[in-house]
Amino acid sequence: MEKFKNLLYQSFDRKLTPAEQKILDDALIRSNELKNEKLEIEKMRNMLEDYRPLISNDFTAKVMNKIENRKTFYTVFKYLVMTGVAAIILLLVTIYFTDGTVSYETLSGLSGYTPETDLLSMFN
């Protein structure tokens, strides 16, 4: 019986060879159990085919909101980056015009600093 059932299940998804089809047809004529099995499979397949899940009313709106939020995030991020870059350039230009050079010392505010100057200032 198991062999016939296997053939029966397979018959729904692939074309059986003529020999297999004959075996199945003969078995279906002989066995009521197999006939019932076939009916149940057909009903189950129809039920699965007709399955429609519930969709929340705001599904599309939620997707669109996520897209918009992402766009807003990237826009804000882009402006923040651009503002930061502009501020850095402005700072460099200012330092260049003030000190005449852009070096590590000028950037860190240590230009013209020597430890000796510091020591001398302690005694004055």
């Binding site: 299940y9 009903k43 899940p53 969709i55 599904f59």
Partner: protein, 185 residues
């Protein structure tokens, strides 16, 4: 065939508009394919918030990588592949058998002696699919719920056709037993 071609042409038009920044076109695309996407996600994950999140994330992933879509595959198939992959990833992550042990109320009529008569019974289908082992479930969902051919199912899952056919046969047998057991309560 002409209808299919027409749909394909419309999809390509929509995708082109989306690539040009047209959000309304994307909204139309979501409306067109949301049932298909939620169907796969819900059948794979059950009627949970996860399923809806996965369906939404699939659309967003498509939107973010829209330039990768070149029209080789039908849009519905392409989107199904995304939602199926995300569902399988989530299932792997969860690993646990929470659906087997949960207290989900199945709202079908237990007095009904023939479960198949009640074709509108979402809960019964969703619960029984959750009880089907994952390997069988993905094949059953694509072939029997979503209606893809066995060849398309094999392509979508990256499986040999023979594996799909054997999983389908075995999966249906298991599913029928599960439905009957659920019906008996």
């Amino acid at each position: 065939m002409a209808k299919k071609h027409n749909l394909y042409t419309k999809d390509i038009e929509l995708v082109t508009k989306i690539k040009n920044g047209n959000n309304e076109a994307f909204r139309q695309l979501v409306m067109r394919y949301r049932m298909q996407m939620i169907k796969v996600a819900t059948a794979m994950l059950g009627n949970t918030n996860d399923a809806e999140d996965v369906a939404q994330d699939s659309f967003i992933r498509f939107y973010n990588n829209i330039n990768q879509y070149n029209g080789d595959a039908a849009l519905g198939t392409y989107l199904t592949k995304i939602v199926m992959n995300l569902s399988l990833n989530l299932l792997k992550k969860q690993k646990s058998e929470k659906w087997k042990n949960n207290t989900l109320k199945v709202n079908y009529d237990k007095q009904n002696t023939d479960p198949y008569k009640n074709i509108d019974n979402r809960a019964l289908i969703e619960k029984s699919l959750q009880l089907l082992p994952g390997d069988y479930r993905s094949v059953v969902v694509l072939r029997l719920v979503q209606g893809y051919s066995t060849k398309e199912t094999a392509d979508l899952l990256g499986l040999p056709l023979g594996t799909v056919l054997s999983r389908l046969a075995r999966g249906q047998q298991k599913l029928k037993t599960i439905i009957n057991n659920l019906q008996k309560g």
